[in-house]
């Protein structure tokens, strides 16, 4: 279960609190997956009290300050959501799944979510196996609105490092063509890192979506095999 709080001493109107929270959650907690399961109790609440200045008027959605505050709330929510993924039960890796150049945002998000929830992708990440086939498979069964965002001849998939090592990007599939002469040594180096990015370039548009996920380990089963008892 996810429970989360955002607490601020800003003076927010009820409407501004609600809309900024919705904006933030759609770009943070609604873009994470540890195991693909949704709880009956997930809640994110925000409390504000205006204590920075009790004479200051409530900030509404029409206020000049609203956009910057909304973005700062989102920034805190994203950092917090990433910590939840980093603490994924038994996890050893933090993985950013970025889908770029999509014909539409919804499909980019669906693809990112599908990869992030794939048990086989997640076990491959744990085993440090550059298993691009599983990533393509998860993309292929993603429940897209239509197929305009996904063209099998245009898709490219890469691993991207998060440290400063070079080459930064290891291309696994280019324009639908698997790179069979993959540099396995470099792939192993990259997959040994704690933080990793899976980059999917759909080449069908301009929209981008991002999900944060983790690997799936033996420890996950140990923790959850007897949680209730």
């Amino acid at each position: 279960t996810l429970l989360s709080y955002l607490i601020t001493d800003l003076p927010l109107s009820s409407s501004a609190a609600t809309s900024s929270l919705k904006y933030a959650v759609d770009r943070s907690f609604n873009c994470i997956s540890v195991d693909g399961d949704m709880s009956t109790n997930d809640t994110l609440c925000m409390l504000s009290n205006g204590a920075i200045d009790n004479q200051m008027e409530d900030i509404t959605e029409d206020s000049e300050l609203y956009d910057e505050i909304k973005l700062n709330i989102t920034s805190v929510a994203q950092d917090l959501a990433k910590l939840v993924v980093r603490d994924g039960e038994g996890s050893t890796k933090f993985v950013t799944v970025k889908v770029i150049n999509s014909e539409n945002y919804a499909d980019a998000r669906t693809i990112a979510e599908s990869i992030s929830n794939s048990m086989l992708v997640k076990t491959a990440l744990y085993g440090q196996d550059a298993n691009w086939g599983r990533i393509l498979c998860a993309i292929g069964y993603a429940k897209l609105n239509d197929m305009r965002a996904l063209d099998a001849d245009k898709i490219s998939v890469s691993f991207v490092t998060t440290d400063n090592s070079e080459p930064k990007e290891l291309k696994l599939v280019i324009n639908g063509v698997p790179q069979l002469n993959l540099d396995e040594e470099r792939a192993s180096q990259m997959l040994a890192l704690e933080d990793l990015e899976v980059l999917v370039d759909l080449n069908t548009g301009t929209e981008t979506a991002q999900f944060w996920t983790c690997d799936l380990t033996h420890e996950y089963v140990t923790i959850n095999g007897d949680y209730r008892t």
């Binding site: 279960t1 540890v34 809640t43 603490d87």
Partner: protein
């Protein structure tokens, strides 16, 4: 090949932070968890209650736990205005507990609201629970815990340890409490404000809240 185990607590838990003005937290072990760990926490606003606002998003799971429906009702009833506290327990999710679970969650809100000075018609608090699904909330322990928190003048604090302990009180299988605090300046007046985020969660995580 396997990755090495990580000391996540040392890496991700801060050792100091600045928190929003006008809020206090309290946390205790109410005996809901088996190991006497912190399992009951409250955040309350001590600034002017007229300035207090609350908002929340909830799970879209069709089976929604009692605290979810009760907190949603509180927000619908108050429109988020004047909600000055939130109470949370870990160890028991009060989920799939039927009418009894609903009554327990409502009673929890009532008890906290009374301690915050409400008459019977005002709901001043949200309620959350996390832990095992399908078990009734141990209300005797919860009620005792609430009394203990509100009757102990030293229970509430606004220092780092008070906030950290609150973050710990909501943990279940988490290996570290999740707490982040950031300060920003308003571009118009230069006033500094703070946003603190606290979360728990390690498994059953793929939220889609609305």
């Amino acid at each position: 090949q396997k990755a090495k185990p990580l000391d996540k607590y040392a890496r991700f838990v801060p050792t100091h932070a600045t928190f929003p003005l006008g809020f206090e937290t309290a946390s205790i072990s109410a005996g809901i968890k088996k190991n006497n760990a912190l399992d009951l926490g409250v955040i309350r606003n001590v600034n002017d209650p007229k300035r207090a606002r609350a908002a929340a998003v909830f799970t879209t799971n069709k089976f929604q736990a009692a605290p979810v429906t009760v907190s949603r009702n509180v927000l619908q009833h108050t429109k988020g205005e004047g909600v000055i506290a939130t109470i949370v327990n870990s160890g028991c999710a009060n989920s799939v507990t039927g009418d009894q679970g609903q009554e327990d969650a409502e009673k929890t809100v009532d008890l906290v609201s009374k301690h915050l000075g409400s008459d019977s018609s005002e709901n001043l608090s949200l309620v959350m629970s996390t832990g095992v699904i399908g078990q009734r909330l141990p209300m005797d322990k919860l009620e005792n815990g609430i009394e203990k928190i509100f009757n102990d003048k030293k229970a509430f604090g606004s220092d780092f340890n008070s906030w950290l302990n609150f973050a710990k009180s909501i943990c279940t299988t988490d290996t570290f409490p999740k707490i982040i605090s950031k300060q920003f300046k308003l571009s118009t007046t230069g006033q500094t404000y703070t946003i603190t985020g606290i979360a728990k969660g390690a498994g059953m995580i793929c939220p889609n809240m609305a």
